[in-house]
């Protein structure tokens, strides 16, 4: 005999206790510390900071541990915490030109002022599983090269810009505040500031696929990796009561500037166009994908025909946020039996009507 289901509360508590046990894994194996995650799974930490839109390595490491390594869940934890933080102001724009370079490469010039700096990269490693990594492998001390303090590392795009070969970066309009989609709902058409913000916190997987699709012909933009640079930059803030700039510290960022196809018009001579990517931490794949998608989304502005998904801002921006996406996809797990009941009744009714119609037809 059915009695109305009770005990949702007890079931939830029991499920969460089980989750805690599973998170810990085999008790004989030492527990992972958040310090270890922060230091040794640094790229996971970077991704969580970037898509979580919160630069805090310790919180990101904690989130990764709490989420059992599920990065989207960790991003969600960071985002939920983030929305409780008061907003005390906006930093001045960071200057990636004055970055302390840890990696800087250009695919468009063999050599250039500041040089090519490979930095810590998987590039050119042979992807062979290395069983020395099971245990404590000795770490070879990397070579150090003295850098002159005043060594200029200009942006590649600035080198092109001096000759007018690439479109200038749009100037900030002083009295126009930069949009903030965490404070105002997104509406369409969205300007590039909001698009870039959305892409920067968007899902790496989605941006990778969309960027890839442009390379395969769905909204082709003929990209060259003009420059990828990664390193710490200083963050400055002007407190109202002081009226002058103070440094808040440094953050690690990855920047990618794509140099894309040129097109002239009656008003302007042929020149390269730009796609821009910027992420917290070392998220190079994401920064490159972002730059490809940013350029694709400029189709309307550059008078290109919008024919591919990556060029469609309403499509792209509505679906980049993985916290939104995972919530709505996974909400299908919630009970829907009231609506299903309504559909069940309708399908039964329609089947009756269909059978009656068929019977009538057979009789005629």
């Amino acid at each position: 005999m059915y009695v109305a289901v009770k005990g949702g509360e007890a079931a939830i508590a029991a499920a969460h206790a089980l989750l805690d046990k599973e998170r810990r894994g085999e008790p004989a194996i030492p527990e992972l510390t958040t310090d270890q995650i922060r230091e040794q799974l640094a790229l996971a930490v970077d991704r969580v900071m970037c898509e979580g839109s919160l630069y805090d390595r310790d919180l990101a490491a904690l989130a990764i541990k709490q989420a059992r390594g599920d990065l989207i869940e960790a991003i969600f934890l960071v985002r939920a915490y983030r929305s409780t933080l008061p907003r005390f102001g906006y930093a001045t724009p960071i200057d990636t030109g004055s970055m302390t370079i840890r990696r800087r490469i250009s695919a468009t010039f063999k050599d250039l002022p500041g040089g090519q700096v490979l930095g810590p990269t998987f590039d050119y490693t042979h992807r062979l599983l290395d069983d020395r990594r099971h245990g404590a492998a000795p770490v070879v001390q990397p070579l150090r090269k003295a850098v002159e303090d005043d060594a200029a590392v200009p942006h590649v795009s600035d080198l092109l810009g001096e000759q007018g070969l690439i479109e200038p970066n749009p100037r900030a309009v002083n009295d126009e505040a930069v949009g903030d989609l965490t404070r105002d709902p997104l509406s369409f058409p969205a300007d590039r500031d909001l698009r870039l913000q959305s892409l920067s916190r968007g899902d790496e997987g989605l941006l990778l696929a969309l960027g890839y699709s442009t390379q395969r012909g769905y909204g082709r933009t003929h990209p060259f990796a003009g420059e990828i640079r990664m390193g710490p930059v200083e963050v400055h803030f002007v407190p109202e009561e002081l009226g002058f700039e103070v440094s808040l510290g440094t953050i690690l960022v990855t920047e990618c500037e794509m140099v894309n196809q040129f097109k002239g018009s009656a008003e302007s001579p042929p020149q390269f166009t730009r796609g821009y990517g910027l992420t917290f931490g070392h998220c190079e794949r994401k920064a490159m994908s972002m730059a490809l998608v940013d350029r694709a989304l400029r189709a309307r502005e550059l008078g290109e025909e919008v024919v591919a998904p990556a060029q469609d801002e309403e499509f792209v921006l509505s679906h980049t946020d993985n916290v939104q996406a995972t919530g709505f996809v996974e909400h299908l797990k919630l009970p829907h039996y009231v609506d299903f009941q309504a559909e069940l009744q309708l399908v039964r009714q329609m089947r009756c009507e269909w059978e009656a119609a068929n019977r009538k037809e057979a009789a005629e």
């Binding site: 059915y2 109305a4 289901v5 009770k6 005990g7 949702g8 509360e9 079931a11 939830i12 969600f76 985002r79 939920a80 915490y81 983030r82 929305s83 409780t84 008061p86 965490t182 404070r183 105002d184 709902p185 997104l186 509406s187 369409f188 058409p189 309403e314 509505s318 916290v323 939104q324 995972t326 919530g327 709505f328 996809v329 996974e330 909400h331 919630l334 009970p335 829907h336 039996y337 009231v338 609506d339 009941q341 309504a342 559909e343 069940l344 009744q345 309708l346 329609m350 009507e353």
Partner: protein, 291 residues
């Protein structure tokens, strides 16, 4: 950080609540119009009631008594989770009784017991745009609402009739509000649509992921879309609840074995329990109602 004491009353900071209250005021002033608002990330997933939770958090006061239902039931897992959230973050009293609640947050149902003046019903809304599945672009649907251009919807309903002989929508059945806006009643079964019309309670709708709020002030005209020759029909059950004997209410079909056996019981658990605790004279005794 897991300690609720670290957070503001009802989780959200006061600035955010003010922003949401402004959106609510606008929504009440223009019944059925979808007001964009800067929805926040909540500590539960998008699609699991974040819109409703933000609206509830913004209207709750320390003296409020909150009821949370999902599928009509107080004890479904997500209803339990949301109720617990407000118990922890707002320390307010909660109830399962419709009549005692000042704020009721719901997903997919309107309680069977009539609501009264002073009560607030907060709906969790997944897709606020009634035209969304006819036109995926927000830019386009906003234009259609602005111009009251609802031809697309009427054509859809007409095509249903042409194909099936009746309108084949059973939940999220579109309504017209105050003779102006077409509104999605959230995915409540169409059985509940008539309860929205001229309801004495304030009805607020929150869609967190889609960042929209809309509202029905008390005593607002709400009409389910139909045609003169194909009037709106409320879903009817040809039986009553097998636990309390109530008729004319919404039923859940509960599968009892793997041979097609099932029974029908009230979807509204509070209504059902109330009747079983104090059966009215009009209600058939429980034993007779059972098979």
């Amino acid at each position: 950080m897991s300690d609720a004491a670290h957070y503001n009353f009802a989780y959200l900071d006061e600035q955010t609540k003010r922003m949401i209250r402004r959106a609510l005021l606008k929504a009440v002033a223009i019944p059925g119009y979808q007001v964009p608002f800067a929805s926040r990330e909540m500590p539960m997933p998008y699609g699991w009631g974040t819109g409703g939770v933000q609206v509830t958090a913004s209207v709750l006061g320390p003296d409020d008594i909150l009821k949370v239902i999902d599928q009509g039931a107080d004890d479904t897992t997500n209803a339990v989770s949301i109720r617990k959230f407000f118990e922890r973050t707002a320390g307010i009293a909660t109830t399962t009784h419709t009549r005692d609640a000042t704020v009721i947050q719901t997903r997919h149902r309107i309680p069977e017991a009539p609501l009264k003046e002073g009560q607030i019903l907060v709906y969790q809304v997944p897709i606020p745009e009634p035209l969304r599945f006819l036109e995926p672009r927000e830019t386009e649907t906003r234009r259609q609402h602005a111009l009251e251009d609802y031809g697309l919807m009427h054509v859809k309903l007409y095509e249903d009739i042409a194909r099936h002989g009746h309108i084949a929508t059973t939940y999220a059945y579109p309504v017209k509000v105050d003779d102006r806006y077409i509104m999605d009643p959230s995915p409540t079964p169409k059985f509940d649509n008539p309860k929205m019309d001229m309801c004495p309670a304030l009805q607020l709708f929150g869609a967190g992921r889609e960042k929209r709020i809309y509202a029905l002030p008390p005593y607002t005209k709400v009409v389910s879309l139909d045609f003169e020759d194909h009037p709106f029909e409320r879903t009817k059950f040809d039986r009553g609840c097998e636990l309390c004997g109530a008729e004319g209410i919404y039923l859940d079909e509960v599968v009892t074995d793997d041979r097609g056996g099932c029974m029908y019981v009230c979807s509204d658990t509070d209504y059902c329990e109330g009747r079983r605790a104090a059966p009215h004279a009009a209600a058939p005794p429980i034993r007779e109602a059972r098979r």
